[in-house]
Symmetry: D2
Subunit: 157 residues, 4 copies
């Protein structure tokens, strides 16, 4: 028997609910958590008229891309704290998670943000006690790589 | 008499109208152009419930900050093309401006995004023929420096 | 028969010779090109007393790491121009290659730079006509990932 | 009477000696600390044949620029810890200072690195308990701005 797995699943479920439904700006972006583990996060969202930055080309606003990749990196870094946060009672989780913050973010815009649905993936590069580093990618449904990013997050507890 | 100033003013007016009213995601952010010249741009926006990322602390979403600073850098870089674009007829300006794109962006989150109104300022560091580099800052109304950023933009015509 | 392959090999040989023997600061770093193709570069170097930044821990200077990863990204981006530069006569190659320049660079320092030999790998993320983006990694001989980086390079001809 | 000032001066003198004479790779770069305080550092170095990256244009290697700006940011961040480290006995300072490390670094290369002498300046943007953020600039003797950078440093004690 491995008692920690169910605990971690509750932690991941909490984060999925939080990122999909509770963070106001994530709702503006239409983000939904598609999968989540201690070293990887995947989120999806659909094109909407509100998310357009370039009305001539009908492509995603660069700020939507940076916002999605920041959220993806933050979720990835938080999920990477499962061993430390997985056993915290639900009523105190929101407060613990709210202490995670982005230190800095770099986004590289590789190709225009065209498509109907998009998938953002984050992976942990370094999971330190105080600082986590993640790399993120954004693809459209045709698997075109639209942007990559790197984020550094404060994860001290 | 200096004939280029009025032409440039029409160009800056076009960009002010475009960034404040025509770009859908800029409207979501509530961005308004406060001042604009060939080497500097200033935008303002107000806190709104939709822009919150941290419901515990009631602070701006990190993605709002990156989106605002990307828009600020892009406007700064585009305004920096006034000598090349200032004389283009209005009906072709939208297309010319739509070719400006972010290559990459770095955001440093220095302090929590607290406040009622915010001001983003962009300055040109390098105005090349093909690539422009800008630095951006975000302050709240109490002059607290919330975030800084650096952006690289494709400005070839 | 595929005539371009030998031409490209001569181009890669030229770059290998240039990066290993002709660039003074690369010699200070002790860089040697281990393999090179149109979408990947691999360089190696050995620990030397001169490359130490932290005398207490006997680890690589952060600036050595950034310098190696910049050189790796630059070589990767240049090799990615093989289709355009592969047919240029040898006597004009040095000048063409000298026009490639770093626009910007991000380095993430993940773990201390410990080891006797190190391998830096670069991969092309975007090979545009004017701008190329590469991602780089630095490992030691025990396959520990010491640092990652992203570089943007001017590759217009 | 202000007793802390002399203590801090001893701390700044220690750092000046360390960065100018004790760090092997800083000696390769020829770095000398010109001035140092709790919120600013200034270093100088001279062009040398070993520091050339582009033999056609006789300009600084991009890796020299990144290395110098990383060293400048690290010194700036360390000097910013004067209130915490200024009173540590000299024999334990080296160990305390060795724990400062770069988390990540961004360099923007604005203009070719031409000149005989160069000055790098670092300023503290954020001096947190665990993480410090600095911005750096590199000028030549003609006051041409060659590069700017931003660094994030681990400064927990």
């Amino acid at each position: 028997m491995e008692p920690s797995a169910p605990t971690h699943q509750a932690f991941f479920d909490f984060l999925t609910e939080l990122y999909t439904h509770r963070l106001p700006f994530n709702r503006v972006l239409g983000l939904a958590v598609a999968s989540l583990s201690a070293d990887m996060a995947r989120l999806t969202f659909d094109m909407q008229p509100d998310l357009i930055g370039n009305p001539v080309q009908q492509t995603l606003h660069g700020g939507v891309i940076s916002a999605v990749l920041d959220a993806t990196g933050g979720l990835t870094a938080t999920a990477g704290m499962a061993d430390r946060l997985g056993a915290i009672p639900a009523e105190r989780l929101a407060e613990a998670v709210a202490r995670v913050g982005t230190i800095d973010l770099r986004i590289d815009y590789l190709r225009p943000g065209r498509g109907r649905t998009f998938t953002a993936t984050g992976r942990v590069m370094r999971a330190g006690k105080r600082v986590a580093v993640t790399r993120m990618e954004l693809h459209n449904a045709e698997a075109v790589l639209i942007a990559v990013g790197t984020g550094t997050y404060m994860v001290g507890t």
